[in-house]
Subunit: 435 residues, 4 copies
C-alpha cells in the first residue's frame, strides 16, 4: 500500500512538472517573454530533459491542440485574401495560418542546446506517431523547421579520418547501419587513404555527425563487398584510384528522419573527391537489395508488373520455376549459399533475371526496394547486378547474396531524377538484358 501511495505521489509530481512545462511554453510565446526569451527557453530545454517518458505524449497532445491556428481567424483571412489578393491580405493570412507552435519551436531554438532538444523531441514524437495520427500536424511543423535549419547551405562537410577525435569515431562504430564496424582496428582500416569517410555536421551540434558515408577508392567498379571491408587488406596506391564507391551511408540522428541529407551528402562528396583526385572516372555505389527476398518469398504476381512484355513474362515464370525446383520448392534455400557452396550457374542466372525484373518493374510500386528508390530518385542509374556480392548472413537473408551498383554521373542526375519521377527506372542495357 505504501508503494501505491508513493506511486501516486510521483504521478502527482509528474503531472505538476508537465503542467509547468506547458505553462512555460505559453509564457515563452507571450509578449512579456520577449525581453527574457533565451533564459525561459533554456529552462524549457532543461525541463524537457527531466520530463518522465510517460508524460511526453501528454505534452505532445497539448502542443498539438493548444498551439494550432484558430480556424475562424484563418477562414476570415483566407476569405479576405480570396476576395482581394493584396500584399496586406497575404501578410495577414501568413501570420494567422502558421501554427503558433512554429514560433514556439523557433524560440526554444534560441537556448543553448535548443537545437539538440528539438531533435530529441522529434525523435520521441516519431516513435508515437504511428499510433497517434492526431499528432501529424505537430510532426509536420517539426519537420518543416528542421528542414529549414538543416539546410545543406548550413551544413559543413568534413572528412573523418584517423586524426579525428576518438569521441567522434566512436559514433561511427555505433551508428554504422549497413556493414557493421567490428571495433577500432576495423575502423582504422576504413579510414586509410584508399578508404574515406565524410560526414555532415551542423554548427549547433559540434562533434556530432548527422550522417556519414563511407567510400572506397578502387581501380574498378566492385562486384563484391567483402574485399572492400576486409580489415586486413593492404591500402592501395593513390595512382590506382579510378572509381569512387559509396559502399555505406548511415544516419546518426533519428530525430532528423525525413530531412534530406543523404542525397546532398553523396553529391558534395563526389564533388570534393573530383576536385582532390581529378583522375577519378566514375562514382558509383555498391548497395544491398534489402527488398528482394521478401518479394520473392511472397510469390510475386508477375502478370501484375507494369510494362513487362509477354516473352519476358514467360522467361520470368520459367526462372521462378527453376529456382523453386532447385531449392526443393522453398526459396529460403537460396539464403543458404556460401563461397564454398555457390549456386549453380543456371540458378544464379534465374535469380539475376528475377532481380532485374524486381528492380526495373517493381521499384515504383509498393514492395519495391527502398534503397533503389533512394538512389534512383537521387538521379543515379541502375548499373549492374552482382551475383554473390555479399555472402554474409544479412546479404543472404536480404537478397540471396546479390548486390547492385548504382552509377552517379553528376551531369546526368537532374535528367535521370526527372525520368524517375515520371515513372521510369533508368538502367544500363546490361541489366535489361538479364530479362
Amino acid at each position: 500500500m505504501l508503494d501505491g501511495l508513493r506511486a501516486a505521489a510521483r504521478r502527482n509530481s509528474d503531472d505538476k512538472a508537465l503542467r509547468a512545462l506547458i505553462r512555460a511554453c505559453k509564457r515563452l510565446l507571450s509578449e512579456r517573454a520577449e525581453a527574457n526569451s533565451v533564459a525561459i527557453a533554456a529552462e524549457l530545454v532543461q525541463a524537457y530533459a527531466q520530463l518522465p517518458e510517460a508524460q511526453r505524449p501528454k505534452l505532445f497532445d497539448a502542443l498539438a491542440s493548444d498551439f494550432s491556428p484558430d480556424p475562424q481567424t484563418v477562414l476570415a483571412a483566407a476569405t479576405a485574401y480570396a476576395q482581394a489578393p493584396t500584399a496586406r491580405h497575404l501578410v495577414k493570412l501568413s501570420q494567422v495560418a502558421e501554427p503558433p507552435r512554429q514560433e514556439l519551436l523557433r524560440r526554444i531554438n534560441r537556448a543553448p542546446g535548443g537545437t539538440a532538444c528539438l531533435i530529441g523531441m522529434r525523435r520521441d514524437l516519431l516513435t508515437l506517431l504511428p499510433s497517434r495520427p492526431e499528432l501529424l500536424a505537430l510532426e509536420a511543423d517539426f519537420l518543416h523547421l528542421l528542414s529549414s535549419w538543416f539546410n545543406p547551405g548550413f551544413l559543413r562537410l568534413e572528412k573523418v579520418d584517423w586524426q579525428s577525435p576518438a569521441q567522434l569515431l566512436e559514433q561511427l562504430i555505433q551508428h554504422e547501419a549497413v556493414h557493421a564496424i567490428d571495433g577500432w582496428d576495423d575502423l582504422r582500416r576504413r579510414l586509410q587513404p584508399d578508404r574515406r569517410c565524410y560526414a555532415f555536421f551542423h554548427p549547433q551540434l559540434p562533434g556530432e555527425p548527422l550522417i556519414f558515408v563511407e567510400v572506397a577508392l578502387l581501380p574498378d567498379m566492385p562486384a563484391a563487398i567483402a574485399p572492400l571491408i576486409d580489415k586486413k587488406s593492404t591500402p592501395q596506391e593513390r595512382n590506382s584510384f579510378k572509381v569512387a564507391v559509396f559502399y555505406s551511408i548511415s544516419n546518426c540522428q533519428p530525430g532528423l528522419r525525413g530531412v534530406s541529407l543523404g542525397n546532398f551528402l553523396i553529391k558534395h562528396v563526389a564533388t570534393a573527391l573530383q576536385r582532390e583526385l581529378p583522375k577519378l572516372k566514375r562514382f558509383c555505389t555498391l548497395s544491398p537489395i534489402p527488398g528482394l527476398m521478401d518479394w520473392l518469398l511472397k510469390k510475386p504476381d508477375f502478370e501484375a508488373l507494369p510494362g513487362l512484355k509477354k516473352p519476358q513474362l514467360a522467361r520470368l515464370q520459367a526462372a521462378h520455376a527453376l529456382l523453386l525446383h532447385s531449392c526443393g520448392q522453398d526459396l529460403a534455400g537460396l539464403q543458404q549459399q556460401s563461397a564454398d557452396r555457390p549456386l549453380e550457374d543456371p540458378v544464379q542466372q534465374a535469380l539475376l533475371s528475377l532481380c532485374a525484373a524486381f528492380m526495373i518493374h517493381q521499384t515504383h510500386s509498393p514492395g519495391g526496394d527502398p534503397v533503389a528508390r533512394f538512389h534512383l530518385d537521387n538521379g543515379a542509374r541502375l548499373e549492374r547486378l552482382n551475383p554473390a556480392g555479399n555472402l554474409a548472413r544479412k546479404g543472404l537473408r536480404q537478397s540471396a547474396g546479390l548486390m547492385v551498383n548504382y552509377l552517379y554521373d553528376l551531369a546526368e542526375v537532374e535528367n535521370r531524377h526527372e525520368r524517375f519521377t515520371l515513372g521510369e527506372v533508368v538502367h544500363a542495357r546490361a541489366v535489361a538484358a538479364l530479362l
Copy 2:
C-alpha cells in the same frame, strides 16, 4: 543614334537576363530540380549578383506576383479546416497557405554564398519598399526566414580585440554608427583591456560581424562620453572595474534590418562579462537622445502629453519659456554650447526637466526617442540624465549635449519589459524628480 542602338541592345540583353533568372527560380522550385538543386541555386546566386540594378524591381515584382499562394486553394483548405480542424486538414492548410517563394528562398540558401545573396536581396528590396507597398508580403517572407536563420541560438558571440584580423577590424571602423572611430589608433584604444568589443557572427558569414557593441569597464557609471572614447586615455586596471557601460551598438548588415539582434547581444555580453569579472556590479549604457532637439524645436504641446500632472505641466511650460528666453527665442542656440561656454545653471536645469518629460511621457507616442524605445522595450530602466554629456557636434545637434544612462538588471528585464509593453516608462526616482 548609335548610342541609342547600343542602349536598346543592352536593355534587350538585360531583359533576357531577367527572364532567365525568373525561369531559374521556377525551375529551382520544380520537382525536376530536386536532384540538382544546389547547382541550380548556385547559378541563381551568381545571376543575381550580375543582374543590373535597374532590373531588380522587376525581379521583385515577379517574386511578389508569381510565387504567392493561390487564393482559391487557400480558401478551400481554410474552409475544410474550419469545418473540421483535424491534423490532416491543418497539414494541408499549412502547405497551401505558405507562399511558395519561402521554399524558393530556402532552396537558394542551399547554395554556397546563398545566405549572403538573400541578405543582399533583402537589402535591395528594403530600399524599394517605401515606394512599393505591393512588395510588402515578399518582404515579410524574407524577414520571416532570416529571423528563423539568424536565431540567437545559431549566432556566435565573439570578443573582438587587437588580435582580430585586420579584415574584421576594418569593418568596425566602417560601420560604427554612434561615435565614429577615427582611424586605427582610435580603434586600438577601444580594444584595450578596459574597453571591449563584442560581435555576433553567423557560421555562414565567417569574418563578417552582424552587429557589434562597444563596452567600457569603469569604476562608476559615467556621465560624459568624451573620456570613454579619448584615444589618448590610459587603460585602467582590472581591479577598478565595477560598471560595464555599453556606449555604442552598431549594425553591419542593412539586409538584416528588423531581425532581433541588439537585444540578444546586450544580454549575452552582460552574461559573458559577469562570468569573466564577477566583481562587476552594474550594467548600463551611456546613450544619445537623438529625438530630443527635434521635439523641442517643434514646440511640443505639453498639454497633450499623457499622464502629466498639473503642477508638472506648469513647471514644464516655465522651463520652456526660460529656455526660449535664454536663447533669444531660438532654441537652436542650445546647440551652440561648449566646454568653454556651458549653459548657465538654471537653463541646464530647465533643459533637464524638459528632457525628463520627453523621455517619460513621449516615448510611447510618435516622435518619441527611438533609442529610449529600444532599451526600455529591451527591459532596461531609465536611470540618469547627464547634462553636457556629449559636446561633440552630433551630441549638441541631437540633444543639446544631454546623454542618458539606461540600467540593465538581468533579474528585472522580463518584468520591466512587460511594464513597458503595458505603457509604462520604468525610471529611477531621480529622473522623475527633475519634473
Copy 3:
C-alpha cells in the same frame, strides 16, 4: 653461388650508399654548402632513412672518428687561454674544442623532418653503445644537442582526452609501460574527468607525444592500484577531488633517453592541476618498487647497509628469517599471494620492514630502486608503503605486491632534492617506524 654474387652486389651497393652519405655529411659542413644547406640536409635525412641497418655502425664510426676536434689545435688554443684567459682566446678555444659534428647535427636539424631523423639516429646509436664504448663521445654530442632542443621551455604541455585524435591515443596504448592499457575501452576510462592524461609535445614533432603521465583524482591517497585502473569503475564527482595521484609515467621516444622530461612533466602537471582545481590538497604517486624482490632474492647483506643502527639490524635479520621460514626457505613464494590468499599478517609486517630498509638505506647504492631514485632526486618524499598494493603478476614479481606513495610538495622539492643529493632519503616518520 648466384646467391653469393647477389649478396656481394648488394654489399657493394650498400657500401656505395654509406660512402655517399658520409660525403654528404662532409659537404653539408663545407663552406660551399652554406647557401644550400637545407636542401642538402633534406637529402641526408632521406639517405639515412634508406641506409641498411647493417651500415649504421660504420656511419657512426665515421661520425665518431672524422668529425672530432683536432687534438693539436685544441691543445694550442687551451695553452693560449691558460697563458692569457682573454675573451678572444676563449672564443677561439670554444670554436676549436666543440666537435665539428655538433654543427653537422645542427645543420641536419634544418631539414624538414630533421629533428625526427636525429632522434632516430640516436635511438639506433644507443642500441650499439653498450658494445662500442668508442662511440661515447658521439653519443654525448647527440645528448647535448637534444637536451638543448627538448628544453622544457620549448615543450608544450597538453591534456590528452577522449577528444584527442585516435592517431595520438593509439600511441598511448602502445607506449604505456607501467600498467598496460587493455584496448580502447580501458583507455576511454582512463580519460574520464576523474582520470587525466598529460603529455609533452615538441613543435617539430606534432601529434607525437614525447612522454605522458596518467593521473587519478581521488578523495584520499590510494593504497592499491586496481581500483584506479578498473575500467568498469564509475567516474567520481569533481567535488570529491582532494588528491592528485600520478600512477603511471611512460616515455614514447627511445631516442630521447636521458633527456630530462619526466621531472619537468610532473611539476608542470601539478601546477596546471593546482590552477584548475584549487581544492586539491596533495600531489603524490602510487608507484611500483621494481627492485625489491631482486634485492631480497639476492640475500641482501644487511650489515653493509649504511646508516643502520644495531637494533634495526637485528630486527631486519629476524624479519628476513621469518620470511624465509614462511616460504619454505624460498622467497619466490612471496610472489604467489593473491587477494584470496593474502600473506599472513606477521609475514606482511616483516616484508614491509625489509622494504623500508631497502628504500631508505639502499637507494643511494647500486641495486637501489630506480623508481625511488627518480622521484627522490626529483624532490619527492617517501611517504607510505602499501601492502598488497598490486597483486597483478608484474606487481607480485617485482615487489611481492608492495607499492609506494611518493609525495610531491612543490614548496619543498628544491630542499628535498638537495638533501637527496647529499645522501639522504627524505621519508615520512611512519616509514621509518617500520624498521
Copy 4:
C-alpha cells in the same frame, strides 16, 4: 643633499638587486637547483626585466668573468686528449671547455618567457659590445645558442595578409626598414593578392615575426620601386604573374642579429611560391645600393680595384670626370635629380659604369655594398642595374637613384655561393658590358 641621499639609497638598492641576480644565476647552475630549475629561471627572467639599465653592464661583466671555463682544467683535458684522443678524453674535454654560462643560458630558457628574455639580454649586450671587447666571448655564447634554437628547422614560415591579427600587422609597419609603410592603407595594398608578405615565427614567440620579406608578383622584372609600392595601384590578375620580386626584407628582433634568417627566408618563400604558382618563371630582387654614393663621394681609388683591366680603368676615370663636370665638381649634385629633372643621358651612363665597377670589383673589399654582399653570398647573381629606380630621398642619397636586381635561381645558388666565397661576383653579361 636630500637628493644625493636618495640617489645613494637607490644606487644601494640597485646594487643589491644586481648582486641578488648574480647569486640567482649561480644558484640556477647549482646541483641543488635541479629539482626546481624552472621556478628559479622564472624568477631570474623577472629580475632581469626589472634590473635598472645602468646595472646591466655589471651583470654582463659578471657573466663574462665568473662563468667562463677554468683555464687550467681545460689545459689538462686538452693535454690528455692530445696524448690519447679517446672518446672518454673527448667527452671530458667537451665538458670542461664549454663555458658554464652556456648551461646557464639553457636553463634560463626553461622558464616561460625565457627565450624572449635571452633575446632581450643579447640586444642589450650588443649595444655595449663596441666599447667592451672583453664581452666578446659572452656574446659568442649567446649567438651560439640562439643560432641553435632559431634553426630554420624550428621556424615556421607564415604568410601574412589582411586576415592576420592587427597586433602582428602593426609590427610590420614598425619594423619595415627598406621602404617605410605609410600607415594602414599602404599596408593593406602591400597585402593584396599580387603583393605578398611572408615571415618567420618561432614557436616560443607566437605573434612576433622574426623577419619578414615583401614580394611583388609581376609580369616582368621591375626597374623602379615606385610602382611596386604605390598604394593606389590596381591589383593585377593572377594569370599575369611571371616574376616574383623580393623588394624588401626587414628584421624585427635586434637581439637576433647575426643569426642566419634572411637567406633561409628567401629560399623558403621562393619554394612556397613556386609550389603555389607553377607559372612563375623568375625570382629576383629589386634592391637598394646603400654604399654607392658613400664610395663615390670618398673619391674611389680606381687603380686599387682588383681585377680591373687597363681600358676599363681609363673608361672609369673618364666617367668619373664627366660626373664631376656635370655637377660642378660636387657629386652630391647627383642626389638632386627627380622625375622632372632627370640626369642627362651621358651622365646616367657614366654613373652606371661606375656603379658596375663598384658592384663587381669592390664588393669583396671594405667599403663594398652590404646588400650586394648579402645576396651574392646567398647564391644570387647580379642581374641588372636600373637608372632612376628610386627617386625618393633615401634612394637619391644612397645611390643617386640607382637600384639593382639580383637573380635567384634555386638550382644555381650552391654553385654561385661557392664562386662568391672564392672571390668572384657572379654577374650577368649586361652588367659587365657597362664597364
